[in-house]
């Protein structure tokens, strides 16, 4: 993890150099290069896209409701009527998987995004203003990082109670601190940089400098961090579900489904194996995509 971060900062340097010479790659250039160089990453992106489509169109893809039970049809194995079988309440697992992908993807993406925005904002503030503000923000980050993440999540969930929005909030609060540290160090580095000094000398406002230079330079790092944090959020939610602190039935999330199904592992293994496989697939896809993006954004490492 740490090693990666170090390298990612180097990636930032390259982008800056290019932007100075004025031949910055656009987003689409990057994507094109990614498509050419890393087939696995492209495949992963397609997998992720498919899951997103499934989540959006869930109601059109299944005749069943995700919460209606059929008590006389519990734990039935995969069949023509129920392609992936039914769960302990006789609910169609495929249907719950589709609806669960909404929740699970949201839990993967939303807290990561929120944590990132919060972390980036605080990181920039700390790095640019410095002094007491910096010290305070960084100590709060230290405090957050001091907790074993699971324990912090447990404590926050205990305080807030279950439910989707609380899970999102909890994971955002768990995520922000490491982001703020990275952004802060980038901001400090850039602050001392000659061209930023020069820009300041010719009277460009601080805010403008921030927008023009610091954020774009952190962006590659943040994009990669994003693809790494999404899977970890999905996994943390499944662990929270294990402790009964996550999403609550009748709502569906993959983590909850794995957890509800685990007691039937020996008599109806499909209950937890199907959502487990989906989690693994999405987590792997995000990991591959992250690796691919890093390679593209960081030619230094690629060249080795």
């Amino acid at each position: 993890m740490f090693g990666k971060k170090k390298k990612l900062m180097a990636a930032g340097e390259d982008v800056r150099l290019k932007s100075q010479i004025g031949e910055a790659e656009t987003f689409w250039d990057l994507m094109r290069r990614l498509a050419k160089e890393n087939k696995l990453a492209v495949f992963s992106a397609v997998v992720i896209l498919l899951f997103i489509l499934a989540a959006i169109f869930a109601p059109f893809l299944t005749p069943y409701s995700y919460k209606d039970m059929d008590l006389l049809n519990r734990l039935s194995p995969p069949s023509g009527a129920h392609l992936l079988g039914t769960d302990e309440g006789g609910r169609d697992i495929l249907t719950r998987m589709l609806y669960g992908s909404r929740v699970s993807l949201m839990i993967g993406v939303l807290p990561t995004l929120l944590g990132m925005i919060l972390g980036a904002a605080l990181g920039i503030i700390a790095g640019v203003i410095g002094g007491k503000t910096d010290a305070i923000i960084m100590r709060i980050a230290d405090i957050t990082l001091g907790f074993p993440s699971m324990l912090l999540a447990m404590l926050i969930m205990y305080t807030l109670g279950g439910g989707l929005m609380n899970v999102v909030l909890t994971l955002s609060l768990v995520n922000w601190a490491s982001v703020s540290r990275i952004v802060r160090s980038e901001a400090i580095r850039l602050k001392q940089n000659e061209y930023v000094e020069a820009a300041r000398a010719i009277g460009v406002k601080k805010r403008v400098i921030l927008w023009r230079h610091i954020l774009p330079n952190c962006l590659p790092t943040l994009i990669v961090l994003f693809t790494l944090n999404v899977p970890s959020s999905i996994l943390t939610e499944s662990s929270l579900s294990f402790l009964g602190l996550g999403i609550q039935v009748p709502d569906a999330s993959w983590g909850l489904m794995v957890n509800m199904g685990r007691q039937f592992l020996y008599i109806a293994p499909w209950l937890s194996l199907v959502p487990s496989a989906a989690i693994m697939l999405v987590v792997l896809a995000f990991n591959f995509l992250g690796d691919g993006l890093r390679d593209v954004l960081d030619p230094h490492q690629k060249n080795q």
Binding site: L145, P148, M150, L151, S276
Partner: protein, 307 residues
């Protein structure tokens, strides 16, 4: 360097205070009276009120915080609601088990992770490399409790190799340690591999090679020493993730450790126990980070010079 360490120590103390305050505040916002919850269905309101006073929960928050803090400094975390014993004694007993589990898990993760990482780096893009990296991704992407339950089912229940649960001797810690270390092994091997690949391409390795050292010797003597730096840093991060994972592993394998205490505290709405376990595990993480910092500055001559 001394100054640096003192500065870090002071910071750590500050962070610990912040953590204590944060935990305290979080646990007070929860709706409902913890005493009413503790006493359950059949308790009458008058008794609940009296007990609330007895536990000092009717005092102003600031008084409660001062008491809790001064107690914590003296090693007194109050009495657990759900287990009826001093929290400190419960944690002392549990810590040994968690330490054993975490140590074995780390050992497993390091041995497996470093071995696989080295092999993968040397045979870069070979079959073994792909196999190990694939496995490591599997390790990173599986929920801890799935790994734990599968191990328990296959090796304890089916093959009868190891006990299903409990803390009866070292053998009952093996499966939990593997379950807990599985995830870390994945990330360690990936880290070792990428760091080694980078170092193996640097000039001094070539020089060494040119001098006629056999490849294995080069690897171990030069590359590994340099690769240790990020790995040591990772160790600090792993303390935190091992403690996180212990929460679940201990529950599945019935290991009476800090993680299981924390789960019990949550289930039993046991505030003193929750406060104690949270503060304690955070302290471990912070101390771990501090040690890693010191170790880092010993290993890396550049930092030593700067200080």
């Amino acid at each position: 360097m001394k100054q640096n360490i003192i500065k870090r120590l002071l910071q750590a103390v500050f962070v610990l205070l912040g953590v204590a305050l944060l935990i305290f505040i979080m646990l007070r916002i929860v709706p409902g009276n913890p005493i009413a919850t503790m006493m359950g269905e059949h308790a009458d309101p008058a008794t609940i009120e009296r007990m609330t006073a007895e536990f000092g929960l009717d005092q102003p928050a600031i008084v409660q915080f001062a008491r809790y803090l001064s107690g914590a400094v003296r090693g007194d975390f109050g009495t657990s609601y759900s287990l009826g014993r001093p929290v400190a004694a419960l944690m002392r007993q549990a810590f040994g088990n968690t330490l054993k589990l975490a140590f074995l898990a780390a050992l497993f993760a390091w041995i497996l992770g470093i071995t696989c990482g080295i092999i993968a780096a040397v045979k870069k893009n070979g079959l073994l490399d792909r196999l190990f990296m694939g496995l490591s991704l599997l390790g990173v992407s599986m929920p801890v409790f799935m790994v734990a339950m599968l191990l328990q089912y296959v090796f304890a229940f089916h093959l009868h190799w190891l006990p299903i649960s409990g803390v009866d001797g070292l053998k009952s810690f093996i499966l939990p340690a593997i379950a807990l270390g599985w995830n870390s092994a994945g990330s360690v091997s990936r880290l070792v591999r990428s760091t080694l690949i980078e170092i193996l391409q640097e000039d001094y390795i070539d020089t060494a090679r040119a001098k006629g050292n056999r490849q294995m010797g080069v690897l171990l003597r030069h590359a590994l020493r340099n690769a240790m730096l990020p790995v040591v840093t990772m160790m600090a991060i792993q303390i935190s993730s091992l403690l996180s994972g212990a929460v679940i592993t201990e529950t599945i394998f019935s290991i009476n450790g800090i993680g299981q205490l924390a789960v019990q505290a949550i289930n039993g709405r046991d505030i003193p126990l929750l406060q104690g376990t949270a503060l304690f595990s955070t302290a471990i993480v912070i101390i771990g980070n501090l040690l890693a910092d010191c170790l880092y500055s010993v290993l890396d001559p550049r930092i030593r010079k700067e200080a």
